[in-house]
């Protein structure tokens, strides 16, 4: 299989430009680190942008308590290997403090609760720019997202009140208490991210590659089984060779049956795949405008 990757250089140039603008225009900046491939690519780009100096960002991870252990280990290694400060805030703490009520029932997920923990963390740490790995190809509400996305003092996104972005002049001016989400890889697609990982030889958590795991099938999606997950009577846990296409909270990360054990093999699958990446994301399936609603609430 031959895929042309000559456009990657322009995407990289653009992303590095956006990352440097973020460093220059804001006071306290973090990279929102999920352990997923997009945030790992962001860390790689940020290292490139400021070499030979260290990046002027810390990593902020919102831990739902329902993460894949492989992701957490990878996160800790990455931070210590490159000497980047790692800040972790826990959804469990928000639940204990009564800041958020945990969802109950079969489809219970802490995915939505993350937004509360995230906004509290941004306020507590005085962060005015949070860099995320969101891409416009992921979901239709994201197709109109800006590189510099303004959030009001409640952390909310107002799709009708976004600043126009002309040429590459970004306006990061804001009032006290407001912040920006910055999306340097807005213009990348899933395929671009994989091509870039291959080209730059970027290391990923093992769960992105084929491995044997206990899984079950729900509403058209394979989900990883974990002790805290409630099963419906007809649902059956079985073992299969799977890999993750996106990495998030265990409760909503869809798995694909796959034997792909290298980035090259994954690329071959991605290039011919017929379902969107977020098609396996249970959280997007809740309603027609699920992503739009969560973004307004302050989601990633």
């Amino acid at each position: 299989m031959k895929i042309n990757d000559s456009h990657l250089k322009e995407l990289e140039n653009e992303a590095i430009y956006v990352i440097r603008e973020t460093a220059a225009q804001f006071e306290k900046k973090v990279i929102l680190f999920s352990g997923g491939k997009d945030s790992i690519v962001l860390v790689h780009l940020a290292r490139k942008a400021f070499w030979p100096a260290k990046m002027p960002f810390s990593l902020l991870h919102i831990d739902t308590g329902h993460n894949f252990q492989e992701t957490l280990d990878f996160r800790d290694n990455l931070a210590s290997k490159f000497g980047i400060e790692l800040i972790i805030r826990y959804v469990q703490d928000s639940i204990d403090k009564g800041r958020v009520k945990e969802e109950q029932g079969i489809n219970a997920s802490r995915n939505r609760a993350q937004s509360v923990t995230l906004l509290d963390a941004l306020e507590e740490l005085g962060i005015d720019a949070a860099i995320g790995g969101g891409r416009r190809d992921e979901e239709k509400a994201r197709a109109k997202e800006r590189f510099f996305s303004h959030r009001n003092e409640f952390g909310q996104w107002d799709p009708r009140n976004q600043r126009p972005e002309l040429w590459y002049i970004f306006n990061g001016k804001k009032n006290q208490g407001e912040h920006f989400r910055v999306f340097p890889i807005s213009n990348w697609t899933e395929l671009d991210v994989w091509l870039y990982i291959l080209k730059e030889n970027i290391e990923l958590p093992s769960i992105y590659f084929s491995h044997r795991r206990k899984i079950f099938f729900r509403n058209g999606v394979y989900l990883a089984w974990a002790p805290f997950m409630k099963l419906k009577p007809e649902e059956e846990v079985f073992e299969a060779d799977v890999r993750c296409r996106t990495v998030g909270d265990i409760t909503c990360t869809g798995l694909v049956i796959s034997k792909a054990s290298t980035v090259k093999e994954i690329l071959e699958e991605v290039a011919i795949t017929r379902v969107t990446e977020r098609g396996g994301r249970y959280d997007d399936k809740r309603s027609e405008a699920a992503m739009e609603d969560r973004k307004k609430e302050g989601y990633f």
Partner: protein, 425 residues
């Protein structure tokens, strides 16, 4: 000199402007569908929506509708970005609404585009909006325009219908000095000449839209004679043992080529030095090109910061604190002459006032109104700006980066206008 230049772009950014009924969303849906850029779950989703809306066929335009408010009103109100790729190229579509009240959105979408696809209804031919869309593309300096004469199925795929529309479009293009203009008869609804050649129009010997997009040669350097410009974004000082004295200037090259040893001038200080090193990450390069995000070091120790401009020493930008510029007004609150705004050009920021309004342009007729000086949202006007410091710039047509700026309201922080310096048309 051209031997050292990079070749043609493999990532093509194009803009589409269209009004509700001209089939723009259908065309984009068709491009995504026929290049197999639509996934099963998306397809299933629009199939269900089409049924729910009582459409007889699957409505491809549903693929590109975005936010809930838009779905409810059935209109596109913002710029949405779409992606598709063919085996040889990647494409980014800036999809914008086409009515006069969305001029600002069209201007935004056009600002980063290499090419414009403009839809014309074969039944009605050239309308006011056709002129408007072509004008905006040309104003923002888009050098490649593809006119898709759509709904050919409704004029019996008639060659003479196509030719008569083409004749009037050629006149418009000439009037606007558009350089590279193409015409394709299509039916977005049925796919004729979008990806596959049309069996209904054997008389058309040209390329289909996708063939043209795949083969069109757009140089990486917009202007072959453009010289080196580097707006400094940030200064890189590692303070580490290995790089104790390293002082790098990070930015994105905005025009021209730079080589180690090149003589440069630093603005606004007008100090001269030479390029000592060019880095992209830990790769040391001997030269870098337009669009590259680099870190450079200089032979001399000079105090340079964000907002400074490093330029080729033998082609220095113009300088003035008074600028003539064509602006598009973005804000609901009208322009106030004499009031202070923040002006940001490349990475530099200063205060300014708009001294006077020369004229407001009627973008539907291209007539200049010299007596009106109330600049409202979506207006395009030529103004005179007085800045609190000297601005170093190139005319917009010579360099889109050093020739453009935005105005920011210092109280609301909103971006209220976008401007092009000395944009003659």
């Amino acid at each position: 000199m051209h031997n050292n230049q990079p070749g043609f772009k493999n990532l093509i950014r194009f803009t589409t402007a269209g009004s509700v009924d001209d089939g723009k969303s259908t065309l984009i849906g068709r491009l995504l569908y026929d290049t197999k850029s639509i996934f099963e779950d998306q397809f299933q989703h629009i199939s269900e929506s089409s049924k729910r809306l009582g459409r007889q066929e699957i409505d491809l335009s549903l693929l590109t509708d975005g936010l809930r408010a838009e779905r409810e009103q059935g209109i596109t109100i913002d710029v949405a970005y779409r992606y598709f790729a063919t085996p040889s190229r990647k494409f980014i579509i800036a999809d914008t609404p086409g009515h006069t009240q969305y001029t600002r959105n069209m201007v935004t979408g056009a600002s980063t585009a290499d090419l414009a696809v403009i839809l014309v209804d074969a039944r009605t031919g050239v309308l006011e909006q056709t002129l408007r869309h072509t004008f905006i593309a040309s104003l923002l300096d888009i050098r490649y325009i593809i006119f898709c004469i759509n709904k050919m199925d409704l004029v019996n795929y008639s060659e003479s219908a196509f030719n008569s529309v083409k004749t009037s479009l050629t006149e418009i293009a000439k009037k606007l000095s558009a350089e590279n203009v193409y015409f394709i008869p299509i039916s977005a609804k049925y796919g004729d000449n979008v990806v596959h050649p049309s069996e209904n129009m054997p008389w058309f010997k040209g390329q289909t839209l996708i063939q043209l997009l795949e083969n069109i040669e757009i140089p990486v350097n917009k202007n072959p004679n453009e010289r080196f410009r580097l707006p400094v974004q940030t200064v890189i000082r590692p303070h580490s043992d290995d790089f104790h004295d390293f002082r790098g200037y990070a930015g994105r090259i905005s025009g021209g080529v730079v080589k180690t040893g090149d003589e440069i001038i630093i603005l606004p200080y007008r100090l001269r030095s030479k390029i000592k090193s060019i880095n992209i990450f830990n790769n040391s390069l001997t030269e870098a090109y337009d669009g590259d995000s680099v870190t450079i070091t200089l032979e001399d120790d000079i105090d340079i910061g964000r907002g400074n401009l490093i330029c080729s020493a033998d082609d220095i930008p113009r300088d003035s604190s008074e600028l003539t510029a064509t602006i598009c007004w973005f804000n609901e609150v009208n322009l106030q002459t004499g009031r202070k705004y923040i002006l940001r050009n490349h990475t530099n920021e200063t205060l300014c006032i708009v001294k006077s309004v020369n004229y407001i342009l009627d973008i539907n007729t291209l007539k200049r109104n010299y007596s009106e000086n109330n600049v409202r949202m979506n207006d395009i006007a030529e103004v005179v700006i007085k800045a609190s410091q000297t601005i170093f710039y190139d005319p917009y047509r010579k360099n889109n980066v050093t020739g453009s700026f935005i105005l920011i309201d210092e109280f609301t922080n909103e971006t209220v206008a976008a401007g092009m310096i000395e944009r003659d048309y």
